[in-house]
Amino acid sequence: MDTQEVLFVAFGGVAVLGALYAVATRSLLRAIVALGAFLTAIAGEFYLLAADFIAVVQIFVYVGGIVVLMLFALMLSASGKRHPLAAVDRPALGAVLAYAVGAGLLWATWSTELPAAGPDPADALGSLGRALLGAQLWPFELIGLILLASVIAALSIVRGERQ
């Protein structure tokens, strides 16, 4: 096993553990922090998969944006204290379905002949830029619109009742 694979397994382990904790814990605050750890590990995975730009974006947007947003929402809804509610409800059904999904996907993965990975492009960032502004221009512009729309939406939803 070379360095890449070791790191891959390490990051993967962190991710899995973080996810498990986020899903199982009773405390919302801890769940969100675990999510943060998870997201960072994923960013590492991205890097190892020759998607360094994605990794950086992941850190900025997810960890720096979304996790913070969640913390704020947590704060505003005052649900951070430990609830008498069970953190996990109806675990049996969830476990069964999750297991089924996971098993199905794993079976699909391990039973197909995957072609070998091609050589990584020399100028990854440049290729990404050329793709975004070339073949994938439409989606790139549309995502801007969607971002705008969702900002307006979020604002109006939160503001809406105060009329």
């Binding site: 996810a19 899903v23 947003l69 649900s79 996990v88 091609g118 492009p121 290729s127 975004l132 939406a153």
Partner: protein, 101 residues
């Protein structure tokens, strides 16, 4: 080799996320689990991008856009949660069943 490992990881994380979605009662916890699911999918996309035409970077573009969408969804979702909290005084999804038939 790494592709298979990535896909395996993605599958496991996806399953964990689904478990969380189905299980948690708090609205924000629900959102956390959804983020886990989406990230698992993104790993899948990036892994496949390396297999088919790495030069075109289609998978990575898709992943980028996916992250953007995830951000929008989190924003709007949290705004909704806040509005619901104000209305119902609780973030427990089980209490929000006004659409019961």
């Amino acid at each position: 080799m790494m592709t298979t490992a990535a896909l395996t990881l993605s599958a496991v994380l996806f399953a964990i996320g689904v478990f969380g979605v189905l299980t948690r009662r708090n609205a924000i916890s629900l959102l956390v689990s959804v983020e886990i699911v989406m990230n698992a999918a993104t790993i899948n996309l990036v892994a496949f991008s390396r297999i088919h035409e790495p030069e075109a970077m289609t998978g990575q573009v898709f992943a980028l856009l996916g992250i953007g969408i995830a951000a929008c969804e989190a924003a709007v979702g949290l705004a909704l949660i806040l509005a619901v909290y104000r209305r119902f005084g609780s973030t427990d999804v089980d209490t929000i069943d006004l659409l019961r038939g």
